[in-house]
Symmetry: C2
Subunit: 661 residues, 2 copies
């Protein structure tokens, strides 16, 4: 309760400014969602003028309260606020260009695209789950750096859709279990969904449901500012996260459409808008905000100025100053280069025969030592994903300073929370499950890529090599389907050296999330000579067979060893094979053309991956071959499966001989 900008008298008109701008912008765009901003204008006005700790002049203030509009379709709420509060770049012109090419006011709020947008929302439930990660990051950094430097809340506006989505269950279960008391969710309880009344499809008692997950709950009239304020006050003193159900009227102010699904996702139309102007006592032209109202909003925008200055001073005077700034900067390129370099040398000196999931643990031993900001975890597969190193403790409600999270069987909630942590800053999240279960968290992986955040998804058991668990657990299409996502680096290292290099890249690419695909089964170390360069950084490279050659064997991950074995077998028959390891297609695509052509070579090529062919065709010409999977796997010991599906050194050898005739 820091901001004193709002005189109670101007409150209704301040809220109406949001309503008017929202309905006007949607009308002008002839597309968009006026209902939510109009319904939640009062709640948002209370939050932004009386509670939210921020400073529009310092939008990146690390200790600002986070505000997440989980119901992202109501984007005009956040854009209106951005303009009213005076965030740099959110001009009236931008509001007028809502949903137009090149504007900042995209249909749904996009992180990095418009000011005051803490995360990209629209796919429902994601914002709520991101917010859990933000609150988690806050709790962790608070434990590490103390109240003086880190002490802020995370507020969420969520709709019925957010609460119906499955990811919300995972998110609230995690938040309740971890007692994230600074997380406050304002639910736009308007009883309306797109198809009509929520009662058409749902009759959940949301308050009871949240309470069952360990949340405090409250119910208020969302159009009564004092009631909303009192509920937020109380939530701030809770020892648990809080859900505040704000009973609202969707499209509040519209004449006939208010309270109906007609107000949700389409322009109101001239007639309704004219009536709304009357009902709201808002006689101003479209996009016009009277000076006194704008003035009150602008004052609220900088009400946190002093608090910011005081915080800034505290940071400068803190013993933690350097560590805090380094954590927020999150640049580990130098430290990692040294540490990984030493580690790689040790591997050359003493080669490791290990599954790459184990190699990942070895790399993490090094990384977690030199990067104090990593916060790892697993969706209940810690021992299988090898994500917990001995040098980090468990993060729990009793120990927020810990760096390892038992996420539970919540792949989706984990991935979304990781994104929230990365967005918050000050922590570097990584989390594991089986590669096949990327399907369970794909919406969050996609958003990580769209936002460009450094979430590192550690995905083990990456092929039929997982063996007996069978086709439900064996990824065959997942590498292809992940490589399909723009701005996502999919790594599939072939041994301990490559695993270390891929981890190094994953932490270096600050604006690109990574999937690291790792084997269950043990692998020989393929790289036996020291390279100071990170060879994986080029995406693909000749790992064996420089000079003259007859055939190029292209492989990734566990199949590199098969290709190397095939190379030996071919050599004994006088055939010269070159083996290319391709741990990251995306990085390879960024190399200069001449490098790419040189690596692929002019001679016949065979692609080898224990997965489907899709995605490999870019490297293969008409007469080239692919050895991999063409359908689902089966349940059997891994060795039997590789033989059964014909993914063996023998098969590669035979195909190479056939190709070169």
């Amino acid at each position: 309760m820091t901001n004193a900008a709002s005189a109670p008298t101007s409150f209704p008109q301040m809220a109406n400014a949001i309503r008017a701008l929202s309905m006007d912008a949607v009308e002008r765009a002839n597309s968009g969602h006026p209902g939510m901003p109009m319904g939640m204008a009062d709640v948002a006005t209370v939050l932004f003028t009386r509670f939210l700790k921020f400073n529009a002049e310092q939008p990146d203030w690390p200790d600002r309260d986070r505000f997440v509009l989980s119901a992202g379709h109501g984007s005009m709420l956040i854009y209106s606020l951005g303009y009213l509060l005076g965030f740099d770049g959110m001009s009236l012109e931008e509001l007028k260009n809502f949903r137009q090419l090149g504007s900042k006011t995209a249909g749904h709020p996009e992180y990095g695209h418009a000011p005051a947008v803490e995360t990209t929302t629209g796919p429902l439930g994601q914002g709520l789950a991101n917010a859990v990660g933000m609150a988690l990051a806050e709790a962790h950094l608070n434990a590490r750096f103390g109240d003086d430097l880190v002490d802020h809340h995370t507020y969420v506006i969520a709709g019925d859709g957010c609460l119906m989505e499955g990811v919300s269950h995972e998110a609230i279960g995690l938040a309740g279990h971890l007692k994230l008391r600074k997380l406050i969710v304002l639910w736009d309880d308007n009883e309306i969904s797109i198809d009509g009344p929520v009662l058409l499809s749902d009759s959940t008692d949301q308050l009871a449901r949240f309470a069952a997950s360990g949340w405090a709950t409250a119910r208020v009239d969302g159009h009564d500012p004092e009631a909303v304020a009192a509920a937020i006050e109380k939530a701030k003193t809770s020892d648990r996260p809080t859900l505040i159900a704000c009973k609202t009227v969707i499209g509040y102010g519209a004449a006939k459409k208010a309270g109906t699904s007609a107000a949700h996702g389409a322009p109101l139309g001239e007639e309704e808008i004219a009536a709304a102007r009357k009902a709201l006592d808002w006689p101003h032209a479209p996009f016009e905000v009277p000076e006194d109202v704008l003035g009150s909003w602008r004052a609220a925008g900088v009400a946190g100025k002093d608090a910011y200055a005081e915080w800034d001073e505290r940071v400068s005077g803190s013993d933690h100053c350097e560590a805090f700034k380094s954590a927020m900067a999150g640049d580990y390129a130098g430290a990692l280069a040294d540490a990984i370099g030493v580690y790689k040398k040790s591997l050359v000196d003493e080669p490791q025969k290990a599954a790459t999931r184990k190699a990942s643990e070895l790399a993490l031993n090094v990384i977690n030592e030199v990067v104090p900001e990593t916060v790892g975890g697993s969706a209940d597969l810690t021992g299988s994903n090898n994500t917990k190193t001995k040098n980090i403790d468990i993060l729990s409600a009793e120990n927020y300073a810990g760096r390892y999270i038992y996420y539970g069987i919540r792949e989706h909630g984990m991935a979304a929370a990781m994104n929230g942590m990365a967005l918050h800053g000050g922590v570097v999240p990584y989390g594991g499950t089986f590669l096949v279960f990327t399907d369970y968290c794909r919406p969050s992986i996609r958003l990580a890529a769209l936002m460009g955040v450094r979430s590192v998804f550690v995905m083990t058991h990456d092929s039929i090599g997982l063996g007996e668990d069978g086709p439900t657990h064996q990824p065959v299409e997942h590498l292809a389907s992940l490589r399909a996502i723009p701005n996502l680096n999919v790594y599939r290292p072939c041994d301990a050296v490559e695993t270390a290099e891929c981890w190094q890249m994953a932490l270096k690419t600050i604006a690109t999330p990574s999937v690291i695909s790792l084997t269950r089964q043990g692998l020989e170390q393929a790289r036996l000579t020291q390279s100071d360069d990170n060879l994986c950084a080029r995406g693909a490279y000749v790992i064996s067979g420089e000079g003259d050659y007859d055939v190029t064997l292209l492989a990734s991950g566990s199949e590199v060893s098969l290709a190397l074995k095939a190379r030996e077998a071919l050599a004994s028959d006088g055939v010269k094979a070159r083996v290319v390891s391709a741990p990251c297609f995306e990085l390879f695509a960024m190399q200069p053309e001449n490098y790419r052509l040189e690596v692929l070579g002019e001679k016949p090529r065979i692609g080898v991956e224990a997965a489907i062919r899709q995605g490999w065709d870019q490297f293969l010409r008409l007469k080239d071959s692919f050895i991999g999977m063409s359908g689902f796997g089966a349940s059997a010991p891994a060795g039997d499966l590789f033989k059964h599906f014909g993914i063996t050194a023998e098969a590669i050898t035979a195909e190479a001989k056939r190709l070169i005739g």
Copy 2:
């Protein structure tokens, strides 16, 4: 309460037979999950000997109770039961070959692979959500055909993982709302997950949570058969679905590992097994079941024989007999050929300029008339997905006879329920959302493909053509990532005629699920001449430009119109372009090679799709071109976006000219 086979005295040993077989099979396989079958053996014995309506000699009895092992890792429970109850094909040999290549006893239960497996489980939460669909199908068919023909329960064994997964929230919300009173979930409340005690990651009050979603709940000692039986008795009289929390000890019987995560997912080891044999008073050799115990089980296996015979007689004597049998057969090829033929002719007579989502509604008007078994729905996008036709009513707790479901904002729960409905039989489920949200239900789409069931996923707004909603809502990688899933037909029709043909194929391919990808934006009708054949059945075909040609333009969906426009423009410049419409890559891949080569042609090719290139390379040679997307979309009116991203007739025309030099 029909089966009287179990004399109370033999109960412990009947349950111990499950325990012994499970631990022995896991030990022999040196892999698997003994903990769950041993913990839930008592509950399962109560269920199968005292409640479950089935007849091992008629495993496909349509009115059997459904049993779903949602905690699929405990597969030895169902395999043990299959053998003990005498299901055909589940021999002792199969148990001994647990998790071996070619056995029926796969690591996780696979539908169609082993008897008594009603759905493929393992990916957690799916079975529970499938069961909701089964119970829904039962309620619907019960309303349609009456108690005499359809009146059965759906039982689920679910674990902590199932209840933590997000999909469980969507599933129980839907079931509670629809008051699916014949759905009974037995929760294996063993307080253990893989990482350790459940309390490491979760502290949800599950009973309160289910109650909040409108379920009846009970808590029992899962090792007290009478308590379990009483709870099931009571559940059967409930007007709501019921959750029964069965407090159990994981790995019950094992000496040191019982009650710990060590019993969950690994062989117990010789020592523990020997101790368990003692503790359980089971002095028999591995895989040996004493005659009296086996006899009691076998009797239970056929205890439903009379009930089956009576049911069979009721069916024969019923007025509904023919309709019921036809519904269960689910073969609509003939009826659809006629109806779609007539409809296609009407389109040729009166071409429709329509978005393909609208064309889908038109096709559904025809289909829902001649296929009385379709049950449609949408995840709260009814008006956008055009999934509700006027000739079907709403299915609700008040009207199970309805054929349209408001699934709410539950894409994942919807898809999983659809699979359950398809598995149940007697209904043909289709359901809609935006194509981008296939990510939200991908685990269920994959399982539909793995199981080979006829779920039809209606996915609209299938490209940047959705316009202003922006990149969060614009699929760019989704066609590729769906085409990557084996045994899934991905259709992308270009106009009303193709949409009808694709729907016809989707309903015809009984063992393959379909995604029908549809536009938001209006399209000209491309097919203007009558074809009695279903041209889409070939996957790709020359839609315009027979005879001599200089260049082949390959396109799908909305981009076919662009290719056709380019063809006209090229013609005026004297260049002959041939346009290939490729509505289904998967069906095209099944055509004979000479047909495929003929369609692709020898001349330069340009692939056009408002999506990424991945997947298209199979059709494109080194010198060919692709016009599409290379990254995420943007928020703007659709027309502006197609221009901005260079996916236009002009761009195709220019590229064609460049290619043919």
